[in-house]
Symmetry: C2
Subunit: 412 residues, 2 copies
């Protein structure tokens, strides 16, 4: 008997028929004798519908009140799944984030989990009851409803698995695992049996969209065994999905690059001609951080003539806001001018194998150059190389790199 | 400065545009210096949509889980109104039933309010903040979400007004007051400036649908000043609505009958040939009450041959359930047979004036007889006379009685 946390996303609960299918899948695991905690997203489209209503009232909806209403999406699906499981003759009980007491900070629309009370859930599990928890939401110390931000249901799943010391956290989605890249762009993309946490972290943050980055961080931090599975496969014919492993236990014949990740939702900003002196990065990014804007790539090249150029990327939706902030601090930091571009994308090659293989970067740049794709920014880490290119080259760049690193071929 | 509780129903918040209109109406009262607590229903149609989803999963949805999901309807509207008020530059804060801590019993889908914690609301009101509360819902001692049943938002409004000792509880609806009967059936129906609590109680329970009966009972019990108003009238052109008065302070020239109420959602059940001995009513109705079915009219006539017939009416939706229960207890109570009819309706003449005017009943029966309407059951109280007739006579009976008691004419 294992304790398993299962998380089903919006497409898996998009209709009452699909919720019944989820119930059958959960029931199958239950029949095998496992204790189950099921985390649900809202029906797909529902969160956007609610945000749309809010925007009809306020262009920039009040975050506390937005969380009050947006959190209802998951509250509907947990009730429905509890009914579906009861209809199958099983004991089941739904919990909102506040009812579990998933305590978060008060950063509405992007709250962080502080602690989880496992008492009520434990009592239910010990009583043979399937516990169903609304993903994406929590409650702050003042009793206000909070949400964890987009994709936060994954984080809820992993956080519950950590709090309950679950044997495995299964993330059910509409794909049957993690792929070498998006099969909609490269039909030859292959499912990976395993991927390391570090790779997954890079893949997720770069926009592979299978798992939310925070959930992967959480899983890494608390050593939660995470598996990505499809909720659309026929019962009895499920594949193994992709297991996210902690150790780099691949052998030396492993592929150097595991996948090509990309992100369309990027925008870059450049502060030109800032004095090349200590503290300048802080002065620029401090103002951005104060506005709660997440910064992704940060690039500063060596200066000359006592000045330097400083570039960074943000989510495209925060582009205008970030630009306005830079214009405000421009005089204070002594910058010459501010430029930006929100028609860019980021493409990355990810793989723990590159640590031991030099020459990966040049192979990547050559492949892009041969297709005439101009590289605007480059950023590297231990296990990934990212480039920013014009948005129009996204698909071409991904296909080119997928082929250049022979990702369509099963490793020997 | 007064403390006013305002309740807006589903049609008043059916769209974001209407929610903005509600905000303008609330803002107008706020500008006059009042402290405001606003109670909202779900957008019209939303509660039915949610119940429909539940029924796609379970024919008879689990009540605890139904409350979890159905309570989301109000959670959406309170968030939206808070945003709309903030957009007008006002301070506003939304509360779910659990956040206020509207403590109820655990009778899911028809919970009763036990207590209301006014602390957080008071602090907000003292801080110039408009308090917005989700109607229709509460929380039980175990932290489970409960709902008060259909129309429960009125009850929330009145209960909050009682707990806060508000100066007035305004129920905004899509009609501009309480009418002598439904104007859709009788175009000559008139708006009443005042109606007594006792009359309103009879009108509401008989299906006038302007106010929910429990809210009127609550208002009467805690002496809450209740006013029915329209939320659809232009700002600045609002009518006075109908004030529900405590005292029978009408003069002697008052009309004998205040209104004709009716209820389509009725079904009657009859237990034939039960032994005419003490305890038989309890044996029959005890089983019905145990199933949480509300009984409306109860009629038992004098017996003969040691047996009697026992009839009662229930809400039509509970007809099959009630019939099944009677079949079960039939042998135990020694009844000859069970009959029922769910194609009936109830029509009532209501008025405190009838206390001092004999002959009202015969006037009523004569008017119905002249139209050839057969009366199946009769029940009377101090201030109303109800008859059960075939459903097909509903409109005719209402029109006939409205005219017979000259309700189309303004009293002298």
């Amino acid at each position: 008997m294992a304790l398993i946390v299962q998380k089903f996303g919006g497409t898996s609960v998009a209709t009452t028929q699909r919720i019944k299918n989820v119930a059958l899948r959960v029931a199958k695991w239950k029949a095998e004798g496992h204790q189950l905690v099921v985390v649900l997203s809202a029906m797909s489209g529902e969160t956007n519908r609610l945000i749309g209503l809010a925007r009809e009232i306020q262009a920039d909806p009040d975050p506390r009140e937005l969380d009050v209403m947006v959190s209802t999406g998951e509250q509907v699906t947990i009730g429905l799944l509890a009914m579906a499981l009861r209809e199958l003759g099983l004991k089941a009980r739904s919990y909102t984030g506040a009812q579990v007491r998933i305590l978060t900070d008060s950063a509405y629309t992007k709250a962080r989990i502080l602690s989880i009370d496992d008492q009520a859930m434990r009592a239910d599990l010990d009583n043979d009851t399937i516990v169903i928890v609304a993903g994406f939401q929590g409650v702050d110390a003042g009793g206000n409803i909070t949400t964890l931000g987009r994709g936060g249901s994954d984080t809820t799943g992993v956080a519950l698995a950590a709090a309950l010391k679950a044997d495995e956290c299964q993330i059910y989605t509409d794909v049957d695992g993690v792929y070498t890249t998006d099969p909609r762009i490269v039909p030859e993309a292959r499912r990976l049996d395993t991927v390391t946490f570090e790779e997954m972290l890079e893949m997720a943050s770069l926009g592979s969209k299978v798992l939310q980055i925070r959930s992967v961080e959480f899983a890494g931090k608390y050593k939660v065994k995470l598996r990505v599975l499809s909720s659309l496969e026929e019962l009895g014919q499920e594949g193994p999905g992709t297991l996210i492993t902690f150790e780099d236990d691949k052998n030396m014949e492993q592929p150097i690059i595991s996948g090509i990740a990309f992100n369309r939702d990027e925008a870059k900003l450049t502060v030109l001609g800032v004095p090349d002196r200590p503290g300048i990065a802080y002065q620029i990014l401090g103002a951005i951080a104060d506005a709660n804007i997440d910064v992704d790539m940060i690039i500063q090249n060596v200066g000359h003539d006592g000045t330097t150029d400083f570039s960074f990327t943000v989510n495209r939706s925060e582009y205008s806001k970030a630009l306005a902030i830079l214009e405000q601090v421009k005089a204070h930091i002594g910058a010459r001018s501010i430029t930006g571009d929100n028609k860019i994308c980021k493409v990355s090659a990810v793989g723990v194998g590159m640590r031991s293989h030099p020459g990966i970067a040049s192979r990547m740049f050559r492949a892009l150059a041969e297709e005439g794709i101009n590289i605007q920014m480059i950023s590297t880490s231990e296990i990934k190389i990212s480039v920013v290119v014009d948005e129009k080259y996204l698909e071409l760049a991904v296909r080119t790199l997928h082929q250049a690193f022979e990702l369509d071929q099963t490793p020997a």
